[in-house]
Structures are given as structure tokens and as C-alpha cells.
């Protein structure tokens, strides 16, 4: 179509221009993480380093205990993912497949909790966690990180279960499988793609979480990456080349994971009008 060709001439340059503007911080990140200590502090700052300082990649691991922070984020992330899956998948099955009084209400509630802001309850959570003697533990973060994505994940999983034809399950029930057997042996294997989405979402949330870690973790060896990086800055002498290198390394896993679930995520958030 003529119209298509003409609009292409406008769309492509405009797209590139907007992308350059929007991705500017990531350009800054990559440029800075390869700068030498001296280049970082030149005024005015330079866009491209005079030489590429590969040793930043090594130093950030050896001098800044990055391993420890990665390990903390990983423990919290995996723990939260496990707990979240154990809670949200069975609940989603119940909401999607079983008839019980209160089902409608449960679904309504789920959708509302999805929007809930942790900040509102942070003062009570602080007290509750303290009274359970869970301040400054991974356990507190695992529970809370898992919990604040339970609603959304139950919701997404419910949507996924619903796409599986009922006949499959009914056939199994007639063949003498119990409900629990159909659930674990028939539904779960089919629902693996949905399951993966839910697990990835839970992991990303925990990996990026900031508020709970900021409020509930105080000792250095339990700090996740987000807090460790936040503490990097703020000291008057920020070594930006290391901060950006660490930021880059911390971002890679979440970016990869996000791309795997991005379509389903949008569909889950926006509802039926968008297909996952």
C-alpha cells in the first residue's frame, strides 16, 4: 500500500530518535562501566571512554563483594518463587476449575489485591516481622516478596488453567482418577508454560524488590543487590564505573527473564482484549 510506504519514511527515523532518547541511561551505563577511574571523574564528562578498562569487570567482583549480594538476591528470589508457586498454583486451580461458594468473591478480591501497595502496610509489617523475630532474615523477605505477587500469579495461572479444555480432565475423572490425581498428573504438565510464567514473574519481583529489603534488612551480608547498589551511591565518593558495572550484571538476568514472559504479562494485566 502506498500509505504504508509513506508512513515508513516517517516511522523509522522517528522510532530511532525516540529510542536514542529512551535508551540514553543504558548508553550511559555501558559507557561508564568501561571507563577508568580517571575518566569517570573528568569534568565535563566524556561520552566514550579514552580507553576501555576491562579490569572493572574483575574489580567489581573482588573489591565489592558482588558475589555475596548476588547470592543474597538469588536465595531470596528462589525462595520467594518456590513459596509463591506453592501458594498460587493450587489456589488458581481451585478458582479456575472447582465450584464452591465464595468463588466470585475470591476472584474479585484477587484482582483488587493485585494493585495493593506494600508501602501502606510497611509500618505494620515492620512490627509483625519484628514480633516474629524475623527482622534481618531472608525468611522475612522470602515470605513478603512471595506474598505480594500471589494475587497476580493466581490470577494469571487461573487464566491459563481456563484455556485447557475441560474434556481432558473430565475424561480422566471418568476413567477413575481422583481430583488430586487429575490436578497433578494431567493439568500441571499441560500448564507448564503458565507455570513458568508465574515462576519467572515471582522471581523478577523478588530480584527487583527494594522497600522490604530497605526496611527489614540491616546486616551487610544479607543485603540483596538492590540495596547494595543503593548503598554504593550516597557515599560522597561514588565509584560510578563499578556501580554501573554491577548494575549491568544485575540487570542481565531480569532482562532475559522479562522477555520470556512479556506477552503473557501484558495479557494478564489488560484482560481479555489482549491475547497472550
Amino acid at each position: 500500500m502506498r500509505w504504508q510506504t509513506r508512513s515508513r519514511w516517517i516511522a523509522v527515523p522517528l522510532t530511532l530518535l525516540i529510542l536514542v532518547i529512551l535508551l540514553f541511561p543504558f548508553f550511559v551505563m555501558i559507557s561508564t562501566m568501561l571507563k577508568s577511574g580517571r575518566d569517570v571523574y573528568t569534568v565535563p564528562p566524556m561520552w566514550i571512554p579514552t580507553h576501555i578498562e576491562w579490569s572493572n569487570f574483575v574489580n567489581v567482583w573482588t573489591q565489592y563483594d558482588l558475589v555475596r549480594y548476588f547470592r543474597a538476591s538469588l536465595i531470596i528470589g528462589l525462595g520467594a518463587t518456590a513459596l509463591n508457586t506453592l501458594l498460587s498454583v493450587p489456589a488458581a486451580y481451585a478458582v479456575a476449575r472447582l465450584r464452591f461458594p465464595g468463588r466470585k468473591f475470591a476472584m474479585y478480591l484477587l484482582l483488587m489485591i493485585e494493585m495493593f501497595s506494600p508501602v501502606i502496610v510497611i509500618i505494620s509489617l515492620f512490627k509483625i516481622v519484628a514480633s516474629l523475630h524475623l527482622l534481618d532474615t531472608y525468611g522475612a523477605l522470602i515470605i513478603l516478596d512471595a506474598l505480594f505477587t500471589v494475587a497476580f500469579n493466581t490470577w494469571m495461572m487461573n487464566g491459563y488453567f481456563k484455556t485447557i479444555p475441560k474434556d481432558i480432565e473430565e475424561a480422566a475423572l471418568i476413567d477413575g482418577c481422583t481430583r488430586v490425581q487429575t490436578m497433578t498428573r494431567i493439568m500441571l504438565p499441560i500448564a507448564v508454560p503458565g507455570l513458568v510464567t508465574v515462576m519467572i514473574y515471582a522471581f523478577i519481583f523478588a530480584w527487583n524488590e527494594f522497600l522490604f529489603a530497605l526496611t527489614l534488612i540491616s546486616s551487610k551480608n544479607k543485603m540483596p543487590l538492590t540495596i547494595a547498589l543503593y548503598n554504593f551511591v550516597g557515599q560522597y565518593n561514588t565509584q560510578w564505573q563499578y556501580l554501573t558495572m554491577a548494575a549491568f550484571l544485575a540487570l542481565i538476568p531480569v532482562l532475559v527473564l522479562f522477555y520470556l514472559i512479556e506477552k503473557r504479562l501484558v495479557a494478564g494485566l489488560a484482560g481479555g482484549a489482549v491475547k497472550g
Binding site: 550511559v28 493450587p90 484482582l111 527487583n208 526496611t215 560510578w240 554501573t244
Partner: protein, 302 residues
Amino acid sequence: MAEESLSLRRRLWNPEARLAYALILPTVAFLAAFMFYPIFYVFVMSFFRTNKLSALTKFVGFGNFIDRLQDKEFWWAVLRSVIWTAIGVSTKFLLGLAIAVLLNVKYRGRKTARMAFIIPWASSVPISALLWKLVYHPDFGLLNRTLSVTGLWPKPPGWLGAPYSAFGACMWVDIWIGIPFFALVFLAGMQAIPQELYESAHMDGAGSVRSFFSITLAGLQELILISTLLSAIWTFNDFNVIYILTRAGPADTTNILITSVYMNAFVDRRFDWAAVQSVITFVILTIVSVIYARFYFRQENA
């Protein structure tokens, strides 16, 4: 009918319902302990004076509410929240829509462009905020360097250091994170609109502007509503960006409702004030969430 003759007990306690309750119970228990009870406790706390360690000391009824509602600083935070959310959401909406339109044009490499546009949303919010802190840096930041060298803005402000520019700078980071969501939702919606509609509109002599309004935007109606509500909630709740960039400073000029809850509690140690603001924020958010849930269900059932 048989269904009506079932006793209430049978309806609540048949094997299927029993299994359902068993499956839901763990989730409900955790939510009750770490979400519903905390909400309840915030309400309780808002009626008491607290000490610096957050212990309840004295029942004061609505005293805390009256205190807060008479405090100018509270109303400033409310006003900032309103401006923050209104400008934030509308800018995200417009830029997201524009990007969706651009991505809906067919050319080679648009899949890659789509991937690239997602990055600000896919990125971790705390890390993005830290990167922006460097970008905005008055001495080493490349933003001001770029602006002044290209002549776009010869004397740019110090961004995070001064009141108005700090608010704008924080708002931009929040907007920047929120644009891709709108772009993706709108793009998906646009691709679901049948091409024939445009063709027949073209035959009828409708120009592309006309088509855009009466076909594209009309087709996106439901999505526009839902995504705007969602974005409004997220924007209103954005604690991380402000806390990391400015810690609600300088001189509280970037303190919106959601950050003031935290600052009241953990900086000023006024847990009672924080509780009051939590309650107020909770009520506002609940109203918006109910609207969102309603529209979501209406659309699902349509």
C-alpha cells in the same frame, strides 16, 4: 430443582468445595497474616499515639486524623500526588500511544524496535533510578553535557538538587518506566483490529486522521480504560523512584503521599502520622481498584 433442594450445608461442604477450600487455605492464611491483618493494624494504629519505637501509647480517637488534616505539609503531599499522577499518567499514555502507532507500521526490524522499547519497563526499577541519578549528576552526568553541547538547553538546571527541577526529574523517570506498558497494550490492541475496517473506511473516503480516531481509538476503548486505571495506581504508588533519586527532598519538595508514609515512619519516627496517611492512601487506592476490577470483569465477560 435438585440444586435448590440442596441444603446450605451440602452446598458449602460437598467434596468439590472441600477440595477447593483446602487448596485456597494456605494462600488465604498467608494473606491474612501478612496483608489483611497489617491493614487492620494500620487502622488501629491510626487511632493511637505512638512512641519512637512504634508502640501504641495512648488512644486518641480521631486526634491523629485531625492533626494530619490540619497540617499544611500533608496537603502539599496530597497536591504533589495529584500532580504527579495526573501529569505522569497522561504523558505515559500519550507517548505510549505514539510509540504503539509507530510500531504498528510494517517495516523490517520492527520486532527489534519493539524489544528495545520494552527495556525501560523490563529493567529493575531501583537500578534504573540509580542509573538516572548518574545521568542527572550535575558534574559527571551526561544529560546536561549533551543538552549544553548540542545547544538544546545551554544552561540546564542541576536537576535533583533544586526543588522544581527535582520534581520534574523524578516525574520523568517514573514516566520513562511506565511508557512501554501503554505502548505494548495499545500495540496488541491495534493488531487485534481487523484490517478490513481501515480498508473500507478508506474506500468511503475517510482520511488517516479520521480512521485513527474512529477506528483505532474506538477499538481501543476498553483497553484505554483498563490500562489507564492500572497505570494510575502504579504511578500513584511509585515509592522507589522518588526515594532513590531524592529521598523526597530537597526540603520535601518531591514528597508525595506514598513517600511521606515511609518518611513519617522511618525518618521522623511518627508512626501514628504514617498510619493515618496509610489509611487515607488505602481508601483512595481501594476505590480505584474496585473500579479497575469492575471494568476488568465486564470486559472478560463481554
